[in-house]
Symmetry: C2
Subunit: 168 residues, 2 copies
């Protein structure tokens, strides 16, 4: 079970980045994304619209206390915080057998998060993007095995055309 916690969502600055975080989470095996900061119904709607069309399971939920969520999860989940300052992620990846909660920051992550996380992990030790870091991490963690359910549309890979298969 893979879940994501996106910290400190700010309006309007983070709308698209947080949407991308959620869609990457959905595509690469997570079943849920929590987010803290400012509630953003429009962002939730655009994520839910992808889930409705292209399938789930994937939920998005606003929470107002990230620390409380982490404390509730920490007995049953490996709490992983993706941060540029952390240890190289690859060394830890193979030891993650049980449930995983992956935390991705906004700009300023409070010190508590570093302390509460079981692992603070970096994808490359270079500054880039929480979207990119999460994508690489999940792709390596989960592989290509997520099976989507309840979709109305499916993309059919093609050399040069846009092919969508519709289900009724």
């Amino acid at each position: 079970m893979i879940e994501i916690l996106r910290l400190n969502h700010r309006l309007p600055r983070d709308c698209r980045i947080t949407t991308h975080v959620a869609l990457v989470a959905r595509a690469f095996g997570a079943i849920k994304m929590y987010y803290s900061g400012q509630k953003d119904s429009e962002m939730e709607e655009s994520v839910n619209s992808v889930v409705k069309r292209f399938g789930g399971p994937f939920d998005i939920e606003y929470i107002n206390n990230a620390i409380k969520l982490i404390n509730e999860k920490k007995d049953e989940y490996n709490i992983i915080h993706l941060t540029v300052y952390g240890l190289p992620y690859k060394k830890v990846l193979k030891n993650l057998s049980k449930n995983v909660l992956i935390i991705v920051g906004g700009d300023k992550v409070e010190w508590n998060i570093y302390k509460l996380a079981k692992y603070n992990l970096s994808v490359s030790s270079q500054p880039h993007s929480e979207v990119g870091a999460l994508a690489i991490f999940l792709n390596d963690l989960h592989g290509d095995v997520k099976k989507f359910k309840n979709f109305k549309l499916q993309i059919v890979p093609n050399e040069r055309e846009k092919v969508l298969k519709e289900f009724k």
Copy 2:
């Protein structure tokens, strides 16, 4: 030699996404990003500021004609267009021995791009993020081998602290 072409940058909508595309490009082995659409000096500056602090080589350049650039590059570069509609990227990855120009879209990519690209490739065949797709693609293409030069700062991986090494 890996270069990126980001299409149809729009202000202010794409500022942060395009910045993330550029930083992912830099972190995972590209040496240059071209972008078309609207010129954005602020975005260029925030990318250049990362290059100044954390090293290069990495250039960013605005171009007003993406098709012309592709036509100039196509004899010497494998032109790859990352699109959700394309073929699974993994099958092609091992055949990419020479220079690579990777095109990532904005929302509406003109039909010409699909035609001009040698390969239209998808990372997962699920809708998510050009940042996420580029990160996974470059990470698999390039691995961890980019050696940065001319940096003033370097992040030192740490279990729980933020450690930056400064060079003078």
